[in-house]
Amino acid sequence: MSGIRVTGWGAVSPAGWGVLPLIEVCTNAQPCETAPLTCPGWPKPIPVRRVPPPTPRPTFLAHPRLRRSSSISLHTAAAALEALGPRLEAIQSGQRRLGIVFTSLTGCVSYSRRFYDEVLKDPATASPILFPETVFNAPSSHLAAYLNTQAINYTMIGDPGTFLQGLAVAAGWLLDGRVDLGLVIGAEELDWLVATAQRRFSSDVVISEGAGALVIERAEASGPGIEIDRISEPVLYTAATSQAAAVRRVRNEAGVDNADTVLVDSLTGAPHVDRAEANAWSDWTGPRISVKKLLGEPFAAGSAWQCVVAAEHLSRGRHSSAIVNVVGCNQQAIAARLVAR
């Protein structure tokens, strides 16, 4: 994996629109406040962490492709544009080829629920405007349209570990020379359907939403020197391998050899959900940041935030390397190591 650098990052989270509010929450270790989400038929609202409305409202949200889209596309665009920063013009003008990997677990759930609800009521009048927005790759399509990029664009779905898989895919495109820049995004949107579904597995996990994005380039590119040292092989939860065993294997292969390493883990604050990861890393004595304890569980966006926080800490010189450890909810354990060069 060496030879690939992280050169830009962006985020939208319950802390606000941008990387800075996300970092502030992590630095202060002060959890974002929850808000009650009313769920039809449920005896009481479910506490969630929502992305606040942006102030001021970014001008890009007026783009024709983004005006009607649901929040997952807006989060995606905002995080991506922040991550791309000054590279935007070169991409929009076609000077640099941008490959996009968009990752998500629940996808465009809000419009999917609304559309199916219309189908159940009367399929003959179900909205043709809603349906195309239910497709998993709608957010990355809108983003590509905004960026005017014709290059390769994958939407990958899966549990939170999928973001790191996507990072490996984009790195492969760079190494093959297929693209000049890779943009990897993890994004989710909140909906009562997701909140109630999560409740059936754990009442302690606070669901949230948002997006995180990384821009990666070949190492010869200029800019901040944060290298992706390695991305582990994902270890699946299968009939033969329990989640605990998978997490231990990733832990054993993490190969920490630097005392100045920060662990950015995926603990949620719900003990029974966190057990495997907590046990596997119980011997860790170095600095640790648990992003999702502070900002909630937004699945793919959460693992993206973990990477964003790691990159920001390295760029500020707080640590010389970071391990991003992701224990997915039902698919895989996977980790990445970022190093300041």
Binding site: S112, Y116, P123, F131
Partner: protein, 399 residues
């Protein structure tokens, strides 16, 4: 890079051989929908597959198998056939790269309906949530085969299947793996059917790709899985080789969320990329399995792209869309159509679109409307999807 195993299930039947016979003859599997209520829909037909109750050789427990949904069974059926044909040994390092647009959507639909009527009811609901998710279906296949490794799910709408196979091809070609199992699957479900119906994209008459009077697509369901490995690995095992993959292109059409660029600009880019990677000229391509949905806009854009891509060679091109036989399989379409290309190259025949009667004059290529024998060496498959995902695969006959 070669293909040493293939599995297919569509409305034409279960298995490589029955499907090859069906595609060769141009049989049509489109019939009245029986899976859900279509009385309120404008269109009432689709290409339903007969999904087997059991999966011979599966290592899944009967209980786990009984919980699997229609899409998972389609995937398991195709996956086991490909696995058996490949002759691979079980391993804990098998990359599985799959494509789908809706995963276990019928389970999601059942979950939602139950949630509306019994919001806090627990019976079956957690299982539905888990099994609905595509990554769990991938793990079901690996567990069923007795393997482990990694699961990657590409959800690029109707181009997903070609993207999955193309990505698998690149994974092996770049040396990241010696072998990869890849394919696509999608089962019919009410949400998606109603969605295409709401867009008036479904044909109220008959799916007629590239016909001057075409009026829409037909939906279908199915799965195809291919076993890809290096030639060195296949030769080392003395494996039977179904064909070669020699090129892959992918691009993004930013014209509109659901409508292609009228001149097929991104489709053209995808085909150019694929031929460039394969190191061939369009005149060397003998058969094209077009995306060919049968909608007015898709076929016009694809025809424009094919005309521009082939240039002077266009009049020699043989083009058909097998969606006339099995409908549009969405996430499985590119995978099944890859299998069709391999079948055609192996059998030296051209799969016809029998329903096409009056070819659109915009098509400067030959649209295959009748079964035919042919001498084929290279075939190309196009897949285009909502959101502008475009993918092209190129195959070569193995001799």
């Amino acid at each position: 890079m070669v293909v040493t195993g293939g599995g297919v299930i569509t409305a034409l039947g279960q298995g490589w051989a029955p499907n090859a016979a069906g595609f060769r003859a141009g049989h049509c599997g489109i019939r009245p929908v029986s899976l859900f209520d279509v009385s309120g829909q404008r269109v009432k037909v689709a290409a339903e597959a007969v999904v087997p109750e059991t999966i011979p050789g599966s290592r899944l427990s009967p209980k786990r198998l009984s919980r699997s949904d229609r899409a998972t069974r389609l995937l398991l059926t195709a996956g086991h056939e490909a696995w058996t044909q490949s002759g691979w040994e079980t391993t804990d390092r098998l990359p599985l790269i799959l494509a789908t647009t809706s995963g276990g959507m019928p389970l999601g639909e059942a979950y939602y309906r139950d949630t509306l009527t019994h919001p806090t009811h627990r019976r079956q609901q957690p299982t539905r949530i888990l099994s609905y998710q595509a990554q769990r279906q991938g793990i079901d296949l690996l567990d069923s085969l007795g393997c482990s490794g990694s699961v990657s799910i590409i959800a690029n709408a109707c181009a997903s299947g070609s993207n999955a196979i193309g990505h698998a091809w690149e994974t092996v070609r770049s040396g990241q793996a010696d072998r990869v199992l890849a394919g696509g699957y999608d089962g019919l479900c009410h949400l998606v059917f109603a969605g295409f119906d709401s867009l008036q994209a479904l044909s109220p008459t008959q799916c007629r790709p590239f016909d001057a009077a075409r009026d829409g697509l037909a939906l279908g369901e199915g799965a195809a899985v291919l076993a890809l490995e290096t030639l060195e690995s296949a030769r080392h095992r003395s494996a039977d080789i179904l064909g070669e993959i020699i090129g892959y292109g992918a691009s993004t059409d930013t014209h509109h969320l659901t409508q292609p660029h009228p001149e097929g600009a991104a489709a053209l880019a995808s085909m150019h990329q694929a031929t460039q990677v394969a190191g061939i000229h369009p005149s060397e391509v003998h058969y094209i399995n077009a995306h060919g949905t049968g909608t007015v806009l898709n076929d016009a854009a694809e025809a424009a792209a094919l005309n521009a891509w082939a240039g002077e060679a266009v009049s020699h091109l043989h083009v058909s869309s097998t969606k006339a036989s099995v409908g549009h399989l969405l996430g499985a379409a590119g995978a099944v159509e890859a299998a069709v290309c391999l079948m055609a190259l192996d059998g030296q025949w051209l799969p016809p679109s029998l329903s096409t009667v009056t070819v659109d004059p915009a098509c400067r290529f030959q649209v295959i409307t009748q079964p035919a024998q042919a001498s084929l060496n290279i075939a190309l498959s196009n897949s285009f999807g909502f959101g502008g995902a475009n993918a092209t695969l190129i195959f070569r006959r193995w001799t």
